[in-house]
């Protein structure tokens, strides 16, 4: 073996694998929590009562912290991991332990610090000596509460003092307690390397749950030689510490870390796919998908859509020169419904918007019926419901095809009408739907369980008719993109007025709020589809304002579920109602940043 090889081998230490993964980066040395501090040991007899009070106050403070940690861990890691802290809370109130501390203080006249530390040291040592390794590992919990109470007694601040601005780091320390581990932000921590610790400790369990690579068993002498900022790498799978790295090793470990990050992101996405939309405190907000074809329906189901909140039925015929027959439509819808139903992880609810042609969605096949699309002001022209009413036979045909396909595919179909500006239009279309349902039932087509009827809220007219519309239909869906352009009286396809379109305007936010308030008074749910629903900042705020369902494009589904889960409903509510006071878009952006 050459000198070079010997050198390289001694630069790699074999230690205990704790939590799998590679970490490579600058060292951050932390002072250990269990380091003894300087405190008086002897006390006078008349000081005992005071010491007892101090201890009680420290225990109360520690209990409050642990309770907070327990809730944090339950939220961010999992309820099983949070159990650790229930056990620690019991330890703080353990009668045997407290009796021992009390006896030391009163009989031997020692300070609260000394009595507490000595009792903790004795109890943790006894527990560490138990033959069962999982039980022996609980000694770390005893030491953890010990350090926590002691730090309150000594009125010391946080244990982590040294924190230079060097970005994500590899924590190197003598010992990490479960509460320290739980307080680590995985975004700042590349890995953990300790002297003490074993694979069954709570700290190890939390490191694994947070997917932070970790090793233990670093030589105490080596710890003394390491400095904050120096480069270090660990392999938590094989239990290796790389004290020095050559270029090839550095490249290999970096690549492994990148791969690790990629696969973690993929797993995170997978995790949100199987979960319903909810806030951190478990309040449900339905996350549906906007879909325009069978491929989109399949992707939506795969990505964990809880339903299709906006089926753009234009897809079938958009490019065709001639209008499809009812059978064409039926076949197209059936294929799409089945594509969704086959892979749906949640309910098989599909909200179909009837043909929304016109304006920015021209439709060649309609030209023979309604003339060409060249209007001076297409956004204000013949589109949506207005075409339905001009050619009711097209609406009848579409409704028949949709209802038959829903019955065949056994999905729950809801219908909504686009571009509503008057109550009369709504009533007329409801009537057509009722007639179509009756005819189908006469023909023996078994109806779907319940067809709810809704309207799109896209015009200021619909906003201010919300009460009348709420009495007429079962639900609202706010088409935020169109409502935005009609509220601002600015054509969103006209590049000369694009400057008016930021993510949000106070006028739009207040319109949405008005619709929600009125709908709530009538017991009607409100959905939002449109870009704002998929915005990770504004989507959750819509939920806070009272929106029951956000409908977004399939790639945004997991992202919006994750964003929503960041905070409790009360937080989103407070922030959403604060935005109602904003008078400019800039103020809204500002409020979004600081609340």
């Amino acid at each position: 073996m050459t000198d070079n090889e010997t050198g390289r081998l001694s630069d790699i230490l074999r230690v205990l694998p704790i939590s799998p993964g590679i970490a490579l980066g600058p060292v951050l040395l932390l002072k250990s929590a269990s380091e003894p501090g300087g405190y008086a040991r002897r006390i006078e007899k008349e000081q005992v009562a005071h010491e007892r009070q101090r201890l009680q106050a420290a225990i109360d403070a520690a209990e409050g912290e642990i309770d907070e940690l327990r809730r944090q861990v339950a939220r961010n890691v999992g309820s099983a991991e949070a159990e650790i802290f229930s056990a620690q809370q019991l330890m703080l109130r353990d009668p045997e332990l407290l009796d021992e501390v009390e006896a030391l203080m009163t009989n031997q006249l020692v300070s609260a610090e000394a009595a507490w530390s000595e009792t903790i040291a004795k109890q943790s040592a006894e527990m560490a000596s138990l033959p069962d390794p999982t039980l022996a590992a609980r000694a770390a919990d005893v030491r953890d509460i010990g350090a926590r109470v002691l730090s309150h007694l000594q009125a010391q601040g946080a244990v982590m003092e040294e924190n230079p601005d060097q970005g994500p780091s590899l924590i190197v320390t003598y010992d990490l307690t479960p509460s320290q581990t739980a307080r680590l932000d995985p975004a700042d921590i590349l890995g953990i390397c300790t002297v003490e610790g074993g694979p069954t400790t709570h700290a190890a369990i939390i490191a694994r749950a947070l997917e932070i690579p970790a090793v233990a068993g670093l030589d105490a002498q080596m710890l003394a030689e390491l400095r904050t900022g120096q480069e270090l790498a660990i392999d938590g799978e094989r239990g290796l510490i790389y004290l020095k790295l050559d270029d090839a090793q550095r490249a290999a470990l970096s690549a492994a870390m990148d791969e690790q990050l990629r696969s973690k992101r993929m797993r995170d996405t997978a995790r949100w796919r199987t979960r319903p939309g909810e806030t951190a405190d478990g309040r449900s907000v339905l996350i549906y998908a906007n879909v325009g074809d069978s491929e989109g329906a399949r992707a939506a189901a795969e990505a964990g859509a809880q339903g299709i909140g906006l089926l753009r039925t234009e897809f079938l015929f958009g490019q065709r020169a001639t209008f499809p027959t009812e059978q064409d439509e039926f076949a197209g819808y059936l294929d799409l419904f089945q594509s969704f139903a086959r892979q749906a992880r949640f309910q098989k609810i599909i909200v179909a918007r009837t043909l929304d042609a016109g304006a920015d969605k021209p439709f060649p096949a309609l030209e023979p019926l309604i003339g060409n699309w060249h209007e001076a002001n297409p956004a204000l022209g013949l589109r949506g419901a207005r075409i339905h009413l001009l050619h009711e036979e097209l609406l009848r045909q579409q409704l028949r095809a949709l209802l038959r396909a829903a019955s065949e595919a056994q999905i729950e179909l809801h219908i909504m009408f686009p571009m509503i500006a008057t109550l009369a239009e709504t009533r007329r279309m409801k009537l057509v739907l009722a007639e179509v349902r009756q005819a189908l039932s006469d023909e023996g087509v078994s109806p779907t369980p319940e067809v709810r009827v809704g309207v799109m809220i896209e015009t200021p007219a619909a906003v201010w008719l919300a009460d009348a519309l709420a009495r007429e239909v079962d639900f609202f869906s706010i088409g935020a993109n169109d409502l935005f352009q009609y509220t601002l009286a600015a054509d969103r396809t006209n590049s000369r007025v694009m400057g008016l379109f930021g993510p949000l305007e106070p006028s739009l936010w207040r319109s949405i709020n008005h619709v929600i308030q009125v709908a709530r008074a009538h017991g009607r749910p409100v959905a939002v589809c449109g870009e704002i629903a998929a915005d990770v900042h504004y989507g959750p705020l819509l939920a806070g304002l009272g929106i029951a369902e956000l409908s977004v494009s399939p790639p945004a589904l997991t992202r919006i579920k994750e964003a929503l889960h960041q905070h409790e409903m009360a937080y989103w509510q407070a922030k959403a109602s604060k935005l109602l006071h904003a008078e400019t878009a800039a103020e809204m952006e500002e409020m979004l940043k600081h609340v």
Partner: protein
């Protein structure tokens, strides 16, 4: 003052560790009686998590639960039921 004693065998897989121990102590703490648990040669105060953990009671171990106090009978009954029901986890 009523004195009640009963015996129960631990049947859950992980024994009186971690979560089961927490549940056991939380349950014991609801009663006023003094409650003692014996496992082989070792004794513990049922309201002491440290004591209960140090019993090291694994699957198959026999616990003798002894309570003294007004609610001794309810206490023993509740703790025996908790152990018999495998701490509701299996």
């Amino acid at each position: 003052m009523p004195v009640v004693e009963n015996t129960v065998v631990i049947t859950n897989k992980i024994g009186l560790h971690a979560r089961p121990a927490t549940l056991f102590v939380q349950s014991a703490a609801r009663f006023h009686s003094r409650i003692q648990v014996r496992c082989g040669e070792k004794y513990a105060n049922a309201k002491s998590i440290v004591g209960i953990l140090k019993l090291g009671a694994s699957q198959g171990a026999t616990l003798v639960i002894h309570a003294e106090g007004e609610d001794a009978s309810e206490a023993v009954q509740a703790l025996v039921a908790l152990v018999e029901n495998k701490f509701d986890e299996e």
